[in-house]
């Protein structure tokens, strides 16, 4: 997960004196759920090692995440190929490629895009039409989708890359909405409301495989996922990406060394659109349909959320984010309709507490554990974990209660638990009156939970506060040897 640390530590540790961690804000408890104040994500706290440059060999450690990904994707043959598992893994594999392509824009070049699904959907559309028109082998379809996406990137990028920063984000929003509106309005193009369907098995056989059965389609998707991820990884090591990083870090300086920032951004947009088109086509192979939903704002928002939750600084961050997102959108969604609310809450929590995402969070704490030792930090982490658990329980209870009040029997089992009949809350009726007509035990449970939450949070904050001066001491001790 940490492409920046892999290998460099082994090389550097012997060659140079102990390097103190970058000065951080003292850990002071502010928000009960998140006792630590995170540092500025631009200067994350870790020994100041940097991305591996081309030419350095990979270490065993850097293979671990790839192995984990491969094992994850290869689950079905071992666990049993149930359809829900295949569907979930296929969606995850698609989202992984989608999020990695998004991170080429956000993490590497600093470009926030609100319309990324346009490339995915349009690429899938082009692939679907090609497949239906020419009967090409399904195996190559993601490539076609990729090229379709890249074509759209060439087109849209001309408009979008004229500006950067916030303006770029709003332009991508506008372009994304344009594509959505056009998909709904223009006849025949997106196949209207029904979308454009393909039949996987109608293509030529590939070594006896027709790709009709979900198993075979999934195998194709999983392999393309690995291939696309590897390709994007290789891309992220190239000098071109370093230029993109430079444009992200300091566009004025980049211009001053002879680099045209707009051109670099354009190049990245096209590359990102290529892989997004690939992801869209993988989705097409999965559900055999491309519709207006494929370009919709929901998908654009989803990939943004996935990438931010996972973390933009590490290569495997978006992979983790994709896993989290499909966890919410597939698994949690099958249980309750409040999944989008939970996802929103989780997203806000991540942005507040760990703007560098889950990957950054793990990297930071791994560094702290390495510096201070596991034993000392153990208590603080246990208290924090307990507090988070209790807060989550309270939130889930409250949210499910509210949703049950509003949507009654539609919530299924959850509604019944809270004692709601069919559609207890009519549309327009305020929530409070619906809630009041209900059993009292959720309120009592919530009150108890809230009390426990407050208690554990206090302990967690105290434990972290105790650690902070120790962290400062460790830093002073190691920096005393350095001359300035």
């Amino acid at each position: 997960m940490r492409k920046r640390d892999a290998g460099a530590e082994a090389r550097g540790a012997a060659a140079r004196p102990e390097r103190p961690e970058h000065p951080e804000h003292p850990e002071h408890p502010e928000h009960p759920e998140h006792p630590e104040h995170p540092e500025h994500p631009e200067h994350p706290e870790r020994p100041g090692t940097a991305p591996q440059t081309a030419g350095r060999g990979p270490s065993a450690r850097s293979f671990a995440p790839w192995l984990a990904l491969a094992v994850f994707l290869a689950l079905p043959p071992f666990v049993g190929s149930q359809s829900w598992l295949l569907a979930y893994l296929a969606q995850t594999a698609t989202m992984i490629v989608f999020a990695l392509s998004y991170n080429l824009l956000l993490g590497e070049t600093g470009l926030l895009s609100f319309g990324h699904a346009a490339y995915a959907g349009l690429g899938a559309l082009i692939a679907a039409r090609m497949f239906n028109a020419t009967g090409m082998p399904l195996v190559l379809l993601p490539l076609v989708g990729g090229m379709g996406g890249a074509l759209c990137g060439l087109l849209f990028g001309l408009i979008a890359t004229r500006r950067s920063g916030t303006a770029f984000a709003m332009i991508t929003l506008g372009l994304g909405e344009l594509v959505v509106a056009a998909a709904w309005t223009l006849p025949g193009w997106f196949g209207g409301e029904a979308g454009i369907a393909i039949d996987r098995a109608s293509g030529p056989r590939f070594f006896g495989l027709s790709f009709g059965p979900a198993r075979e389609a999934y195998a194709l998707i999983a392999l393309w996922c690995l291939a696309a991820s590897a390709a994007m990884f290789a891309l992220s090591r190239t000098p071109f990406m370093r230029l993109a990083n430079a444009v992200r870090d300091n566009p004025a300086r980049a211009a001053a060394i002879g680099c045209y920032p707009a051109r670099i951004r354009y190049g990245v947009v096209v590359l990102s659109a290529f892989f997004a088109g690939m992801a869209g086509t993988m989705g097409l192979v999965n559900i055999e349909l491309v519709s207006t939903e494929s370009v919709g704002m929901m998908r654009s928002g989803a990939v943004l959320i996935a990438t931010v939750i996972g973390g933009t600084a590490a290569f495997f961050g978006p992979v983790a984010g994709a896993l989290v997102l499909t966890f919410f959108s597939v698994i949690v969604a099958s249980v309750t309709r409040a999944w989008l609310f939970y996802l929103g809450l989780f997203f806000v929590a991540v942005v507040l507490a760990a703007p560098d995402g889950l990957a950054g969070f793990c990297a930071r704490h791994a560094a702290r554990i390495a510096a201070q030792g596991w034993r000392r930090r153990r208590a603080a982490y246990l208290w924090s974990a307990l507090a988070v658990l209790l807060w989550s329980a309270a939130v889930v209870l409250a949210v499910q209660w509210a949703y049950a009040a509003r949507f009654g029997a539609d919530e299924g089992a959850a509604g019944a638990i809270f004692g709601f009949g069919a559609n207890a809350g009519a549309d327009g009726a305020p929530l409070a009156s619906a809630l009041s007509a209900v059993s009292w035990w959720p309120a009592v449970a919530l009150a108890l939970l809230a009390a426990f939450c407050a208690l554990t949070t206090r302990y967690a904050m105290r434990a972290h506060a105790r650690l902070a001066p120790q962290a400062g001491r460790a830093r002073v001790a190691s920096s005393s040897g350095e001359t300035r």
Binding site: E30, H31, P38, H40, P41, E42, L112, I159, R162, R163, S164, G165, T166, A167, A169, M170, I171, L173, G174, L175, E177, L178, A181, A182, W184, T185, L186, P187, G188, P251, A255, P261, A262, M297, G301, L304, I305, V308, A338, L340, F341, L343, G344, L345, F347, V348, V351, L352, P355, A402, Y403, R406, G425, A426, D427, G428, A429, P430, L431
Partner: protein, 312 residues
């Protein structure tokens, strides 16, 4: 021709409503440096809250209570949440407002259900203001325009003439210097954010009787507002005004027209397949703001009134 004037006035009223939204957004952007992605959600919240208040206490109380309530919520959001991530830069702030937009959308569904609601127009404002050769201009729309213009005047007065406005304008570019002079800059930030969201809520409460109140209203209008501020030039109030009026008028006129795409393009001598020809401008109306965006950006990347330094 007769309906053209009425349609134009309708377009202006819609444009001024857009301006109410984009003005608040531009203020917040100029002050805090972050584009409030949840702005349209506050607009939606204002509409819903206004609906509920109006159902109990009447339309006029709703016009006062909804903006106040939502403004307070906005202030709380800025004070406790937005400020926390400010240290990390503009991107986390924008992402936070993005997450807030999602959450507000879900909360609204939770609070008022999924279905559309319709707010009634108060009796005194119901009916036509005047009729022009058979087409009538609604009184309510005139009321909307009046409120928007009054708000614009108040904004100009506060910003240009009053002391508070002076402090706000100074804090736009030199917050530390203003703070060193003893002004409470964080409070100013909160105040501006609250004012922006209150404006959005007012727009929501006022616009509610004209448009359907539903959970999707934030997304559809939100995108248009963001496009409007980019067309006008990020950070420019006059640009926001011009762009709002432009988008409002063009879109309204398109919706009201019967002209088909084929007719329009035949002027240029371009022929299209029959099902494209039959598309009316009214059907294409949803695309218009975005097509305008592309056109303006292609010709003038910084927007109509944007400053040169903005584009890299």
């Amino acid at each position: 021709m007769q309906s053209f004037i009425v349609n134009l006035l309708n377009g202006l009223s819609y444009g001024l409503l857009l301006f109410m939204l984009s003005a608040g957004l531009t203020l917040i952007f100029s002050m805090l440096g972050v584009l409030n992605f949840a702005h349209a959600s506050f607009y939606m919240l204002g509409a819903y809250v206004g609906f509920s208040v109006a159902a109990r206490a009447g339309f006029w109380s709703a016009l006062v209570i909804a903006p106040l309530g939502v403004g307070l919520l906005g202030a709380a959001f800025e004070h406790w949440l937005l400020r926390r991530v400010r240290a990390h830069g503009h991107l986390p702030e924008l992402l936070l407002t993005f997450g807030a937009a999602y959450l507000l959308g879900e909360l609204v569904k939770l609070g008022w259900g999924l279905g559309p609601l319709s707010a009634p127009v108060p009796a005194v404002l119901d009916g036509p203001l005047f009729s022009l050769y058979g087409a009538s201009f609604a009184r309510y729309r005139a009321f909307m325009m009046a409120v928007s213009l009054a708000m614009l005047a108040a904004l100009v007065a506060v910003l240009r003439v009053s002391r508070t406005g002076l402090v706000v304008r100074a804090a736009l570019t030199h917050p530390q210097a203003v703070e060193a002079l003893g002004h409470n800059v964080p409070a100013v930030f909160t105040g501006v954010f609250a004012a922006g969201t209150a404006l959005a809520a007012l727009a929501g409460a006022i616009g509610a009787p004209l448009f359907v109140i539903e959970p999707a209203m934030a997304e559809s209008l939100g995108s248009i507002v963001f496009v409007v501020v980019v067309i006008g030039g990020l950070g420019s109030l006059s640009g926001a005004l011009v762009a709002s009026l432009l988008v409002g008028c063009v879109q309204t006129l398109a919706v009201a027209s019967d002209v088909s795409l084929g007719e329009v393009l035949s002027v240029a001598g371009v022929a299209l397949p029959p099902d494209w020809d039959a598309l009316t401008l009214a059907q294409l109306a949803p695309l218009i703001p975005y097509l305008l965006l592309v056109a303006v950006l292609a010709l003038r990347p910084r927007g109509l009134f944007g400053r040169r330094g903005d584009h890299a």
